[in-house]
Amino acid sequence: MTGLRLACVWVALAMVLQGPAALAAQFTVDEAALNRLEFPVPENGKERAYLGLSGNNTFRLPSVRVPILFVEIFSMYCPICQSEAPKINELYTRIQKSPTLKDKVKMVGIGIGNTPFEVEVFRKKFEIPFPLFSDEDFSVEKISRQRIRTPTFLVLEVEQGNKVRILDALVGRIEDIAGLVENLEQTKGK
Protein backbone atom coordinates (compact mmCIF):
# COMPACT_ATOMS: atom_id res chain seq x y z
CA MET A 1 0.00 0.00 0.00
CA THR A 2 2.95 2.31 0.63
CA GLY A 3 3.89 1.85 -3.00
CA LEU A 4 0.41 2.85 -4.00
CA ARG A 5 0.60 5.99 -1.88
CA LEU A 6 3.97 6.89 -3.40
CA ALA A 7 2.50 6.42 -6.85
CA CYS A 8 -0.32 8.80 -5.92
CA VAL A 9 2.21 11.44 -4.87
CA TRP A 10 4.13 10.93 -8.11
CA VAL A 11 1.04 11.35 -10.24
CA ALA A 12 -0.06 14.40 -8.25
CA LEU A 13 3.38 15.93 -8.72
CA ALA A 14 3.34 15.23 -12.43
CA MET A 15 -0.08 16.83 -12.71
CA VAL A 16 1.13 19.94 -10.90
CA LEU A 17 4.24 20.20 -13.04
CA GLN A 18 2.16 19.73 -16.19
CA GLY A 19 3.45 20.32 -19.69
CA PRO A 20 5.87 23.20 -19.34
CA ALA A 21 8.13 21.55 -16.81
CA ALA A 22 8.12 18.28 -18.69
CA LEU A 23 9.13 20.07 -21.84
CA ALA A 24 11.70 22.12 -19.98
CA ALA A 25 13.42 18.88 -19.09
CA GLN A 26 14.18 18.51 -22.79
CA PHE A 27 15.16 22.15 -23.19
CA THR A 28 18.83 22.80 -22.58
CA VAL A 29 20.40 26.23 -22.41
CA ASP A 30 23.97 27.20 -23.23
CA GLU A 31 24.74 29.50 -20.30
CA ALA A 32 27.82 30.98 -21.98
CA ALA A 33 25.68 32.06 -24.95
CA LEU A 34 23.04 33.36 -22.56
CA ASN A 35 25.66 35.50 -20.84
CA ARG A 36 26.81 36.92 -24.17
CA LEU A 37 23.39 38.27 -25.14
CA GLU A 38 23.40 42.03 -25.40
CA PHE A 39 20.55 44.52 -25.36
CA PRO A 40 20.33 48.30 -25.49
CA VAL A 41 19.98 50.04 -22.13
CA PRO A 42 16.35 51.23 -22.06
CA GLU A 43 15.83 54.89 -22.91
CA ASN A 44 12.96 55.00 -20.45
CA GLY A 45 14.31 56.17 -17.07
CA LYS A 46 11.77 54.15 -15.13
CA GLU A 47 12.86 50.95 -16.86
CA ARG A 48 16.54 51.81 -16.33
CA ALA A 49 15.89 52.30 -12.63
CA TYR A 50 13.87 49.05 -12.44
CA LEU A 51 16.80 47.09 -13.84
CA GLY A 52 19.46 49.14 -12.04
CA LEU A 53 21.17 50.06 -15.29
CA SER A 54 22.89 53.24 -16.34
CA GLY A 55 24.54 54.60 -19.47
CA ASN A 56 23.23 54.70 -22.98
CA ASN A 57 24.93 51.74 -24.56
CA THR A 58 24.22 48.08 -24.27
CA PHE A 59 24.07 45.72 -21.33
CA ARG A 60 24.33 42.00 -20.70
CA LEU A 61 22.02 40.11 -18.39
CA PRO A 62 24.55 39.86 -15.47
CA SER A 63 24.50 43.67 -15.28
CA VAL A 64 20.93 43.70 -14.04
CA ARG A 65 21.00 44.57 -10.35
CA VAL A 66 18.80 41.86 -8.93
CA PRO A 67 19.30 38.37 -7.47
CA ILE A 68 16.76 36.66 -9.75
CA LEU A 69 15.86 37.62 -13.29
CA PHE A 70 12.70 36.23 -14.87
CA VAL A 71 12.92 36.31 -18.66
CA GLU A 72 10.03 35.82 -21.05
CA ILE A 73 10.99 34.98 -24.63
CA PHE A 74 7.97 35.96 -26.69
CA SER A 75 6.85 37.08 -30.11
CA MET A 76 4.14 39.61 -30.88
CA TYR A 77 2.98 37.19 -33.58
CA CYS A 78 2.57 34.28 -31.17
CA PRO A 79 -1.09 33.72 -30.22
CA ILE A 80 -0.16 31.99 -26.97
CA CYS A 81 2.09 34.87 -25.93
CA GLN A 82 -0.85 37.16 -26.62
CA SER A 83 -3.36 35.15 -24.63
CA GLU A 84 -0.88 34.64 -21.79
CA ALA A 85 0.09 38.32 -21.56
CA PRO A 86 -2.50 39.24 -18.90
CA LYS A 87 -1.32 36.33 -16.76
CA ILE A 88 2.32 37.42 -17.06
CA ASN A 89 1.28 40.96 -16.14
CA GLU A 90 -0.39 39.45 -13.09
CA LEU A 91 2.89 37.75 -12.20
CA TYR A 92 4.62 41.13 -12.39
CA THR A 93 1.99 42.70 -10.13
CA ARG A 94 2.27 39.89 -7.60
CA ILE A 95 6.05 40.23 -7.54
CA GLN A 96 5.85 44.00 -7.09
CA LYS A 97 3.34 43.64 -4.27
CA SER A 98 5.32 40.97 -2.43
CA PRO A 99 7.73 42.42 0.15
CA THR A 100 10.00 39.38 -0.27
CA LEU A 101 10.04 39.43 -4.07
CA LYS A 102 9.92 43.12 -4.98
CA ASP A 103 13.69 43.63 -4.76
CA LYS A 104 14.58 40.02 -5.40
CA VAL A 105 12.97 39.32 -8.79
CA LYS A 106 12.82 41.51 -11.88
CA MET A 107 11.18 40.65 -15.18
CA VAL A 108 12.18 41.32 -18.78
CA GLY A 109 10.76 40.20 -22.10
CA ILE A 110 12.69 39.44 -25.26
CA GLY A 111 10.78 39.64 -28.54
CA ILE A 112 12.46 36.98 -30.64
CA GLY A 113 12.54 37.98 -34.31
CA ASN A 114 10.53 41.11 -33.49
CA THR A 115 11.57 44.58 -34.55
CA PRO A 116 11.39 47.40 -31.96
CA PHE A 117 8.17 48.51 -33.67
CA GLU A 118 6.62 45.05 -33.31
CA VAL A 119 7.68 44.86 -29.65
CA GLU A 120 6.01 48.23 -29.12
CA VAL A 121 2.77 46.96 -30.67
CA PHE A 122 2.80 44.07 -28.17
CA ARG A 123 3.64 46.35 -25.25
CA LYS A 124 0.86 48.80 -26.06
CA LYS A 125 -1.77 46.18 -26.77
CA PHE A 126 -1.25 44.32 -23.50
CA GLU A 127 0.04 47.24 -21.39
CA ILE A 128 3.15 45.29 -20.43
CA PRO A 129 4.58 46.93 -17.31
CA PHE A 130 8.10 45.43 -17.44
CA PRO A 131 10.92 46.16 -19.92
CA LEU A 132 10.72 44.48 -23.32
CA PHE A 133 13.60 44.17 -25.74
CA SER A 134 13.68 43.53 -29.46
CA ASP A 135 15.69 40.59 -30.78
CA GLU A 136 15.26 41.26 -34.46
CA ASP A 137 18.21 39.07 -35.44
CA PHE A 138 17.04 36.00 -33.51
CA SER A 139 20.21 36.12 -31.38
CA VAL A 140 18.33 34.38 -28.56
CA GLU A 141 18.29 31.26 -30.73
CA LYS A 142 21.99 30.87 -29.93
CA ILE A 143 21.24 29.96 -26.31
CA SER A 144 19.90 26.52 -27.20
CA ARG A 145 20.40 23.83 -29.79
CA GLN A 146 16.68 23.21 -29.72
CA ARG A 147 14.32 25.52 -31.53
CA ILE A 148 13.11 28.19 -29.14
CA ARG A 149 9.38 28.03 -28.82
CA THR A 150 7.36 30.94 -27.64
CA PRO A 151 6.66 31.67 -24.97
CA THR A 152 9.69 30.32 -23.12
CA PHE A 153 10.39 31.49 -19.59
CA LEU A 154 13.82 31.43 -17.96
CA VAL A 155 14.48 31.86 -14.26
CA LEU A 156 18.03 33.13 -13.88
CA GLU A 157 20.22 33.58 -10.86
CA VAL A 158 22.30 36.72 -11.32
CA GLU A 159 25.84 36.78 -10.05
CA GLN A 160 26.12 40.53 -10.18
CA GLY A 161 28.41 41.78 -12.92
CA ASN A 162 29.77 38.31 -13.57
CA LYS A 163 27.27 35.82 -14.99
CA VAL A 164 23.77 34.49 -14.90
CA ARG A 165 22.99 30.89 -14.14
CA ILE A 166 19.87 29.13 -15.25
CA LEU A 167 17.65 27.88 -12.45
CA ASP A 168 14.62 26.86 -14.45
CA ALA A 169 13.14 26.92 -17.93
CA LEU A 170 9.46 26.71 -18.71
CA VAL A 171 8.07 26.28 -22.20
CA GLY A 172 4.47 27.07 -23.07
CA ARG A 173 1.69 28.25 -20.84
CA ILE A 174 2.27 28.78 -17.14
CA GLU A 175 -0.62 26.97 -15.56
CA ASP A 176 -0.16 28.12 -12.00
CA ILE A 177 1.01 31.69 -11.36
CA ALA A 178 0.48 31.37 -7.59
CA GLY A 179 2.68 28.26 -7.55
CA LEU A 180 5.36 30.05 -9.55
CA VAL A 181 5.30 33.00 -7.13
CA GLU A 182 5.66 30.54 -4.26
CA ASN A 183 8.65 28.91 -5.98
CA LEU A 184 10.26 32.28 -6.58
CA GLU A 185 9.80 33.13 -2.91
CA GLN A 186 11.62 29.95 -1.95
CA THR A 187 14.40 30.41 -4.52
CA LYS A 188 17.60 31.72 -3.06
CA GLY A 189 19.50 34.16 -5.20
CA LYS A 190 23.13 35.17 -4.76
Binding site: V11, A14, V121, R149
Partner: protein, 202 residues
Amino acid sequence: MNRSYDRFRLFLFLAVAVVCVTLSAFPTSWAGSGVIYDPGGLKSIDSRTTLKVGDEAPDFELKDLSGNTVTLSSFRGKKNVVLSFVPAAWTPVCSRQWPGYNIARDYFENHDAVVIGISVDNVPTLHAWVTEMGGLWFPVVSDFWPHGAVAKKYGILRSDGTSERALFVVDKKGTIRYTDVHDINKMPKLEHLIKALEKLDK
Protein backbone atom coordinates in the same frame (compact mmCIF):
# COMPACT_ATOMS: atom_id res chain seq x y z
CA MET B 1 -2.76 -13.71 -3.47
CA ASN B 2 -3.56 -10.34 -1.86
CA ARG B 3 0.03 -9.25 -2.24
CA SER B 4 0.18 -10.11 -5.92
CA TYR B 5 -3.17 -8.36 -6.41
CA ASP B 6 -1.72 -5.24 -4.73
CA ARG B 7 1.30 -5.46 -7.03
CA PHE B 8 -0.97 -5.78 -10.03
CA ARG B 9 -2.95 -2.71 -8.87
CA LEU B 10 0.28 -0.79 -8.34
CA PHE B 11 1.47 -1.77 -11.83
CA LEU B 12 -1.86 -0.69 -13.32
CA PHE B 13 -1.74 2.59 -11.44
CA LEU B 14 1.80 3.32 -12.58
CA ALA B 15 0.88 2.45 -16.16
CA VAL B 16 -1.97 4.97 -16.02
CA ALA B 17 0.36 7.46 -14.37
CA VAL B 18 2.93 7.12 -17.16
CA VAL B 19 0.22 7.80 -19.74
CA CYS B 20 -0.94 10.84 -17.73
CA VAL B 21 2.59 12.22 -17.53
CA THR B 22 3.19 11.60 -21.23
CA LEU B 23 0.01 13.45 -22.10
CA SER B 24 0.76 16.31 -19.77
CA ALA B 25 4.12 16.66 -21.48
CA PHE B 26 2.29 18.00 -24.51
CA PRO B 27 1.67 21.69 -24.16
CA THR B 28 -1.90 22.84 -24.24
CA SER B 29 -0.95 25.29 -26.95
CA TRP B 30 -1.17 24.52 -30.64
CA ALA B 31 2.28 25.91 -31.38
CA GLY B 32 3.91 22.97 -29.68
CA SER B 33 1.25 20.35 -30.07
CA GLY B 34 2.34 19.12 -33.47
CA VAL B 35 -0.69 20.40 -35.37
CA ILE B 36 1.45 22.84 -37.32
CA TYR B 37 2.93 21.25 -40.42
CA ASP B 38 6.46 22.43 -41.08
CA PRO B 39 7.33 22.07 -44.78
CA GLY B 40 10.92 23.14 -44.11
CA GLY B 41 12.70 25.74 -46.19
CA LEU B 42 10.95 26.51 -49.47
CA LYS B 43 11.98 28.36 -52.62
CA SER B 44 11.64 31.94 -51.46
CA ILE B 45 9.51 33.15 -54.41
CA ASP B 46 8.03 30.87 -57.07
CA SER B 47 6.04 33.18 -59.30
CA ARG B 48 6.35 36.51 -61.02
CA THR B 49 3.69 39.15 -60.60
CA THR B 50 3.27 41.80 -63.26
CA LEU B 51 1.28 44.01 -60.94
CA LYS B 52 3.01 47.13 -59.76
CA VAL B 53 2.31 50.27 -57.78
CA GLY B 54 -0.10 52.48 -59.73
CA ASP B 55 -1.97 49.58 -61.38
CA GLU B 56 -5.62 49.03 -60.75
CA ALA B 57 -6.08 46.17 -58.31
CA PRO B 58 -7.83 43.22 -59.99
CA ASP B 59 -11.29 42.90 -58.55
CA PHE B 60 -12.50 39.68 -56.97
CA GLU B 61 -15.41 38.12 -55.16
CA LEU B 62 -14.65 35.43 -52.59
CA LYS B 63 -16.58 33.82 -49.75
CA ASP B 64 -15.52 34.50 -46.18
CA LEU B 65 -15.82 32.04 -43.32
CA SER B 66 -19.40 33.09 -42.57
CA GLY B 67 -20.47 32.47 -46.15
CA ASN B 68 -20.62 36.18 -47.00
CA THR B 69 -19.24 37.39 -50.30
CA VAL B 70 -16.34 39.80 -50.00
CA THR B 71 -15.88 41.99 -53.06
CA LEU B 72 -12.79 44.13 -53.32
CA SER B 73 -14.50 46.88 -55.33
CA SER B 74 -17.13 47.29 -52.58
CA PHE B 75 -14.49 49.09 -50.51
CA ARG B 76 -13.92 51.77 -53.17
CA GLY B 77 -14.44 55.24 -51.84
CA LYS B 78 -14.82 53.81 -48.32
CA LYS B 79 -11.71 52.05 -47.05
CA ASN B 80 -8.11 51.36 -47.90
CA VAL B 81 -7.57 47.63 -48.18
CA VAL B 82 -4.63 45.46 -47.19
CA LEU B 83 -4.72 42.17 -49.09
CA SER B 84 -2.74 39.62 -47.13
CA PHE B 85 -2.16 36.43 -49.11
CA VAL B 86 -0.71 33.59 -47.06
CA PRO B 87 0.56 30.34 -48.62
CA ALA B 88 -1.19 27.69 -46.56
CA ALA B 89 -3.11 27.11 -43.36
CA TRP B 90 -1.48 25.22 -40.47
CA THR B 91 2.06 26.15 -41.48
CA PRO B 92 4.62 27.95 -39.29
CA VAL B 93 4.89 31.56 -40.48
CA CYS B 94 1.29 31.82 -41.73
CA SER B 95 -0.07 30.68 -38.37
CA ARG B 96 1.50 33.74 -36.74
CA GLN B 97 1.17 36.43 -39.36
CA TRP B 98 -2.56 37.04 -38.96
CA PRO B 99 -2.52 36.81 -35.13
CA GLY B 100 0.08 39.60 -35.36
CA TYR B 101 -2.26 41.71 -37.51
CA ASN B 102 -5.00 40.84 -35.07
CA ILE B 103 -3.37 42.76 -32.22
CA ALA B 104 -2.37 45.61 -34.54
CA ARG B 105 -5.99 46.46 -35.41
CA ASP B 106 -5.61 50.07 -34.19
CA TYR B 107 -2.68 50.63 -36.53
CA PHE B 108 -4.76 49.60 -39.55
CA GLU B 109 -7.86 51.46 -38.46
CA ASN B 110 -5.89 54.64 -37.78
CA HIS B 111 -5.23 54.70 -41.52
CA ASP B 112 -8.80 53.86 -42.44
CA ALA B 113 -7.72 50.44 -43.63
CA VAL B 114 -9.21 46.98 -43.47
CA VAL B 115 -7.31 43.73 -43.87
CA ILE B 116 -8.58 40.89 -46.04
CA GLY B 117 -6.82 37.61 -45.39
CA ILE B 118 -6.69 35.35 -48.45
CA SER B 119 -5.64 31.73 -48.68
CA VAL B 120 -6.09 29.00 -51.29
CA ASP B 121 -7.30 26.63 -48.55
CA ASN B 122 -10.96 25.63 -48.46
CA VAL B 123 -13.46 27.16 -46.03
CA PRO B 124 -13.62 24.26 -43.50
CA THR B 125 -9.83 24.23 -43.18
CA LEU B 126 -9.69 27.99 -42.78
CA HIS B 127 -12.53 27.89 -40.27
CA ALA B 128 -10.67 25.38 -38.07
CA TRP B 129 -7.42 27.30 -38.40
CA VAL B 130 -8.81 30.74 -37.61
CA THR B 131 -10.83 29.32 -34.70
CA GLU B 132 -7.60 27.86 -33.31
CA MET B 133 -6.05 31.32 -33.59
CA GLY B 134 -8.79 32.57 -31.30
CA GLY B 135 -10.61 34.45 -34.08
CA LEU B 136 -9.63 37.50 -36.09
CA TRP B 137 -11.19 40.95 -36.43
CA PHE B 138 -10.81 40.96 -40.24
CA PRO B 139 -12.42 38.74 -42.89
CA VAL B 140 -10.59 35.68 -44.14
CA VAL B 141 -11.63 34.54 -47.61
CA SER B 142 -11.09 31.28 -49.43
CA ASP B 143 -9.50 31.26 -52.88
CA PHE B 144 -9.93 27.50 -53.09
CA TRP B 145 -12.11 27.13 -56.17
CA PRO B 146 -11.45 27.73 -59.01
CA HIS B 147 -8.23 26.89 -57.29
CA GLY B 148 -6.11 29.96 -56.57
CA ALA B 149 -7.91 32.01 -59.24
CA VAL B 150 -7.40 35.29 -57.40
CA ALA B 151 -3.79 34.47 -56.54
CA LYS B 152 -3.29 33.77 -60.25
CA LYS B 153 -4.88 37.11 -61.19
CA TYR B 154 -2.40 38.80 -58.89
CA GLY B 155 0.44 36.75 -60.39
CA ILE B 156 1.37 35.08 -57.13
CA LEU B 157 0.21 31.46 -57.55
CA ARG B 158 3.15 29.15 -56.93
CA SER B 159 3.82 26.05 -58.97
CA ASP B 160 2.65 23.80 -56.10
CA GLY B 161 -0.80 25.43 -55.93
CA THR B 162 -0.13 27.55 -52.85
CA SER B 163 0.17 31.31 -53.07
CA GLU B 164 3.09 33.52 -52.24
CA ARG B 165 3.23 35.32 -48.92
CA ALA B 166 2.22 38.64 -50.42
CA LEU B 167 0.83 41.99 -49.35
CA PHE B 168 -0.95 44.50 -51.55
CA VAL B 169 -2.17 47.85 -50.28
CA VAL B 170 -5.09 49.11 -52.33
CA ASP B 171 -6.27 52.68 -51.79
CA LYS B 172 -9.83 53.96 -51.83
CA LYS B 173 -9.65 54.48 -55.59
CA GLY B 174 -8.81 50.83 -56.13
CA THR B 175 -5.20 51.56 -57.04
CA ILE B 176 -2.32 49.43 -55.83
CA ARG B 177 -0.08 51.60 -53.63
CA TYR B 178 2.27 49.00 -52.15
CA THR B 179 3.32 45.47 -53.02
CA ASP B 180 5.45 43.02 -51.09
CA VAL B 181 5.82 39.55 -52.56
CA HIS B 182 7.80 38.28 -49.64
CA ASP B 183 10.18 35.39 -49.07
CA ILE B 184 7.69 32.64 -48.22
CA ASN B 185 9.87 31.48 -45.32
CA LYS B 186 9.94 34.82 -43.56
CA MET B 187 7.58 37.16 -41.79
CA PRO B 188 7.14 40.55 -43.42
CA LYS B 189 8.00 43.33 -40.99
CA LEU B 190 4.88 45.00 -39.73
CA GLU B 191 6.29 48.52 -39.82
CA HIS B 192 6.90 48.34 -43.57
CA LEU B 193 3.20 47.73 -44.08
CA ILE B 194 2.17 50.42 -41.61
CA LYS B 195 4.54 52.92 -43.26
CA ALA B 196 2.88 52.15 -46.60
CA LEU B 197 -0.47 52.96 -45.01
CA GLU B 198 0.93 56.20 -43.54
CA LYS B 199 1.81 57.30 -47.07
CA LEU B 200 -1.84 57.01 -48.09
CA ASP B 201 -2.72 59.73 -45.61
CA LYS B 202 -0.43 62.24 -47.32
